[in-house]
Amino acid sequence: MNKQVESPKGRIIKSRHVKLGTKNKKGQTFTDVNEMFFEAERTASFLTGSEVIREAIKRASVGMSIAYPITPQSEAAALIGELYAEGYLDDYFRGESEFAVMSQCAGAAFGGMRVFTTTAGPGTLRAMENFSMWAGSRLPIQVCVTMRGVNSPLSIQPDTLELSYLLESGMLLWHAETAQDLYDFILKGFIVAEQPDVHLPIAVCCDGFFVTHTKDTVELTPEDLCLTPYDPYKSPVPCMDMECPPIRMMRDPFVMKSNYISYSTHASWQQEVRAAIERSRKHTAALIGGLIDVENNDRDILIVSSGTAVSQGREAIRLLEEEGIKVGLVKIKTIRPFPHEEVREAVKNAKHIFVPEFNMAGWLAREIKSVINDNDRVICGPQVAGGMTLPSEVIVEEIKKYLGIKVGSLAGRGS
């Protein structure tokens, strides 16, 4: 039902924030996001993903961040602490668990601040009850999820299964492929999440270690430019600071017949959260250049994926190209909203659609299957999990096997 949204000007609506052009206490200039991303010059830096998170937050005019250690996000959370010590944030502390941290984030957001936090794996699951509460309460908190294994036995290794738990939380879910994506998504994520018509929490997800602990080249925006601060009085729900009406305000009350109102209010409330996700399409498409990226989708074979699996797919396409096998690519950037129309359109001529994933559930393949026709075109895989890497050679093997081309065994690690 969702139409593909295009922004006519290729830009997000310009900020009308009163602080535009003035400087913050660190001497950074509050800058319209269009100017920051489409006009300002960028500098290449060689950084780990964790450092990239710090660099993004340094420019994000974040009010408060709350931390709790869990591998692989600990480094990023600690680096944000350093930013606090340097005066870039108003407040920062370590909470007692992810459940508490996400509630503390909620408190700060209820109080009208821009809030950022990070978590991963079991932390995401422990925090889970809060994510739906954030969405229902329309709190535009950003959590960076550096995904890792969540299942027993314990694994701290990369695995994207946790994203499937977040699918129906009501949050915006963006999936970064690289450190560059991570940088851009964090900054742009605040802008989209805080639009008055969206105003929802956002999880900017990346594959733990593959992005957080890898040193890669990232183009940074100028250090002396920062986002305009959050304006709590543009919120679609009253800020809880006793500074705005109505005075008699409960966020967010039981909405059920036992307190004398119809269930349809609750249903409408849930519809409204989903509607807000839909509204984010327009802003997101303008800021991150569409919800998907497409390369050579006129080819018979396509790799369609998100996150690090896209990178592995790109390498596989190179290897296949050397052997004369031509494969196209669709990179999905936003999981919620899911780019239904975009994906349907991009894969309409494909005969085989491969969906490599770093999890055993194959949730992305399932999402894709649910929106395209002739969904037996979708080959769910290759899938790895629990920290296993997904060598491009394995994707090559999968595709060749499917095409009936003889392949050497990659099992046994070549010994």
């Binding site: 039902m1 006519p8 329309r138 509607a275």
Partner: protein, 210 residues
Amino acid sequence: MSQYQVKAGPEAFLAPAAASMGIVLPDPGEAHIEGRIVPEEEAYEYAARKFLEAKVPTIFPGPLVLWKWNENAAAKAAAIRKLAEAIPARLIPMADYRPKYPKIEPAVEINPNHPNLTIWYNKIDVCIFVGVHCHQANLALKIIRGGTDCYTMAMCAQAGHEDACLSFRDATVEKIQKLQEAVEKLKKQGVKSQAIPFEQFKTACTGQVA
């Protein structure tokens, strides 16, 4: 393009959110009429005509314009009053958003949790929301579209409401005045208000006084 139109109801047991049916909000300088993006100017005239054709045109001012929490709010309240007089339309406040105990008085208030009660009770056929927080306005608009035949409009200070049959965005005092001018212009052209004669109720600390 979406084929969906945001029409007056009653639409369904649970009407869908217009955004989920592919309706997109207007950009600055634009408005929407039933989901169709139009220049703002067109919407003023359309809204004015809707008001004048209505039997029970009603304005629902919300907390953001009922409380004098800043000077702008006071100015908007003044403009809303004038608009109501120009049409003429009833004013029924949405004083807050709480689940009110034990019940609301549908003749003199509207509540976002069951706005249909007020629509039904007063037989309101055209209404406009102004000064209501967007989330609460959207709840009310969906419920109204679901269960009543009321034509809904919104004068939104932010990005607008696709759940209304007609919506303005970035509302200011001037925009409220422009709507009033559009009403007056139509009247000058000979369009007569079809409103059933009514007396605006008045309240005081002690209760309803008129």
